[in-house]
């Protein structure tokens, strides 16, 4: 549960940034921690509304599965799909190592 005073610490912001793959700087951490604390203090107001028996809304328009016939349609060519890639090789996306040395 959110703590009473100071919703979010600098360490927490650093942890969240790591989870979100953002290599934030020390200066940013200082700024964001203060700002996010203020924002969280404000949005925590949603907790004041008694809504225990209220169903949540994820989407304003009720969503249903949408089906279409399973037929061939033109899509992007390999060249088009790779056109914006930072690096490509042999018709594929070239990416940095994703597994450790040992794997």
């Amino acid at each position: 549960m959110p703590s009473e005073s100071g919703a979010i610490s600098r360490d927490e912001v650093a942890h969240l940034a790591r989870l979100a793959r953002l290599a934030v700087t020390e200066t940013e951490l200082d700024t964001f921690a203060g700002q996010l604390d203020v924002i969280l203090g404000s949005v925590a107001r949603v907790g004041e509304v008694a809504a225990e028996d209220i169903p949540p809304t994820s989407h304003a328009v009720p969503l249903e599965n949408v089906f279409r016939p399973d037929e061939l349609r033109p899509g992007l060519s390999q060249e088009q799909a790779l056109s914006g890639a930072p690096a490509a090789e042999e018709g594929r996306f070239r990416v940095p190592r994703i597994l450790g040395e040992e794997a």
């Binding site: 549960m1 959110p2 979010i8 927490e12 912001v13 969240l16 940034a17 790591r18 989870l19 979100a20 793959r21 953002l22 290599a23 934030v24 700087t25 940013e28 700024t31 964001f32 700002q35 996010l36 203020v38 924002i39 969280l40 404000s42 949005v43 925590a44 107001r45 949603v46 907790g47 004041e48 509304v49 809504a51 209220i54 169903p55 949540p56 809304t57 994820s58 989407h59 304003a60 328009v61 969503l63 949408v66 279409r68 992007l76 088009q80 799909a81 056109s83 914006g84 890639a85 930072p86 690096a87 996306f93 990416v95 940095p96 190592r97 994703i98």
Partner: protein, 496 residues
């Protein structure tokens, strides 16, 4: 009269009757952009060649007697959040600098099919997060009414292009007010259609359950004409509504006759009063009197949960943002900063270099709101509040055909005033956020100038889901009556 001063409807008529060529129309607007955009900075990219090529094609078709859409050859400014295969798409972000999408958004494709000339891509807060365009990585847009002030956001570029007569039509997107608030502060018209009314295919996502593309123009009729071009079911967007598009052009024409008798206009008690600038409140009160004069019955309605809308929005939106923007991973397209040996290190370095502070704040906030231990108290509770806001709307629409409020609590504020205070910036969308949470329709129409600063004020008109026809009718009636008395709002000539 200069071609750039004409409405889209007037220009389209002249093109169709060969009084003016589409090439002349395009060139006049390209010249105007060259003349003033150095100061306004509404555009991130101008596609001169493609614009003139489209215009030439329309002229050929007109000459050949080909049946064309009602806006064929009319120039338009497209928010840089819709993919365009022939132009860069940056979303105002460094992470997409120079990116050329491999396909057109459905909105882009429909504009092309209608023969509309796309002049270029307009500036915006990065990934549509902001109310001032100051969060664009490419520098802010300046309000044509006062170049030292914000043009609103996130779609400030589109609104400023209209106000500066760089285009008679524009496209925006509205997640929490990004079409309506810029319209209000630039004295232009902006419409957020019902959620699902306009396809999101090829619209780079901010918050998927809230994002909605829509038309921007200088008149209600022009917005209606553009609305009918871009709206309608799209099999490529599974949230797109498979129902007929409301007849908004007809509604706007009927509305312009100025009779609103039999209509009930609900004033939302919670959207006004304290926190709203005196000149905004005065303009709103005058608007209510005008609506009554037009025959409408003005009633007060209460939406008690609207006071929690901003809090719910700033939990739901960042949550969706943190998930949606995970796609910018430096692997498939966009920026890559090759620092570090592993994919994870490259991702983190790229996202750090490619995203601006507001985007980072919202990603971190969303990551927090969705994390276990906090989920129920924040995201879960916000979703329940969302239900209560929808119920407030349903109850209000049982008492009134449309709801009204000021669009934004203030007129355009000076650039730099709120950029370092996120919470103050968020308050600009106080009155526009509820419609996004409930998925209903909303528009902003100019209601005059605020007495204290002489800057434009917007009247917000809200209608139930797929209730755009009545919204356009009220908007057009109000506009016709107001301009007959006070004249259209025209920004001062931009200094050269």
């Amino acid at each position: 009269m200069s071609l750039t001063r004409l409405t889209a409807a007037e220009l389209a008529e002249k093109i169709a009757s060969r009084e003016v060529s589409a090439v002349e129309a395009a060139q006049a607007h390209l010249d105007r952009i060259a003349e003033v955009d150095g100061e306004v900075h509404a555009f991130l990219h101008v596609g001169t060649e493609a614009a003139l090529a489209n215009a030439a094609l329309v002229d050929e078709q007109v000459a050949a007697g080909t049946a064309l859409g009602p806006l064929a050859g009319v120039p338009l400014a497209l928010k840089d959040v819709f993919t365009t295969a022939d132009m860069p798409t940056t979303c105002g972000s460094k992470i997409l600098e120079g990116w050329r999408p491999p396909y057109d958004a459905t909105v882009t494709a429909r504009l092309r099919a209608a023969g509309i000339t796309i002049l270029g891509k307009t500036n915006m807060d990065e990934f549509a997060m902001g109310s001032s365009t100051e969060h664009s990585a490419y520098g802010p847009t300046h309000n044509p009414w006062d170049l030292s002030r914000i043009p609103g956001g996130s779609g400030g570029g589109s609104a400023a292009a209209l106000a500066a007569f760089e285009a008679p039509l524009a496209i925006g997107t509205d997640t929490g007010g990004s079409i309506r608030q810029p319209a209000a502060v630039t004295g232009t018209v902006g419409v957020k259609p019902t959620y699902g009314g306009v396809s999101r295919y090829g619209l780079v996502a901010c918050a998927s359950s809230l994002d909605q593309g829509g038309p921007c123009a200088r008149t209600v009729l022009d917005a209606a004409l553009l609305h009918e071009v871009i709206a309608g079911h799209d099999p490529l967007d599974s949230t797109s509504i498979d129902r007929p598009v409301p007849s908004v052009v007809e509604a706007a024409r009927i509305g312009a006759q100025g009779d609103l008798s039999g209509l009930r206009v609900g004033v939302v008690k919670e959207l006004g009063g304290e926190g709203y600038q005196p000149g905004v409140r005065a303009s709103f009160d005058a608007a209510l009197q005008r609506l009554e004069k037009l025959g409408a019955e003005v009633v007060e309605v209460s939406c008690p949960h609207f006071e929690y809308a901003m809090a719910a929005y700033y939990l739901i939106l960042p949550s969706e943002v943190s998930s949606n923007l995970a796609r910018f991973d430096a692997m498939r397209y966009g920026l890559r900063v090759d620092e570090g040996a592993s994919a994870e290190e490259v991702m983190a370095a790229t996202r750090e270099a490619g995203f601006g502070p507001e985007v980072k704040r919202r990603i971190i906030l969303g990551t927090y709101a969705l994390s276990s231990g906090y989920y129920d108290a924040y995201y879960g509770q916000a979703q329940k509040v969302r239900t209560l806001i929808s119920r407030d709307f349903s109850a209000a629409f049982a008492k009134a055909d449309v709801l009204v409020s000021p669009t934004a609590p203030t007129t355009a504020f000076p650039l730099g005033e709120k950029v370092d205070d996120p919470l103050a910036m968020y308050l600009n969308d106080l009155a526009t956020i509820p419609t996004n949470l409930a998925g209903v329709a909303g528009m902003s129409v100019p209601s005059g100038l605020a007495e204290e600063d002489g800057l434009p004020v917007g009247l917000q008109i809200m209608a139930p889901a797929l209730g755009e026809a009545v919204m356009y009718r009220v908007g057009a009636a109000f506009e016709a009556s107001r301009t007959a008395d006070e004249g259209a709002l025209v920004a001062p000539e931009v200094a050269r």
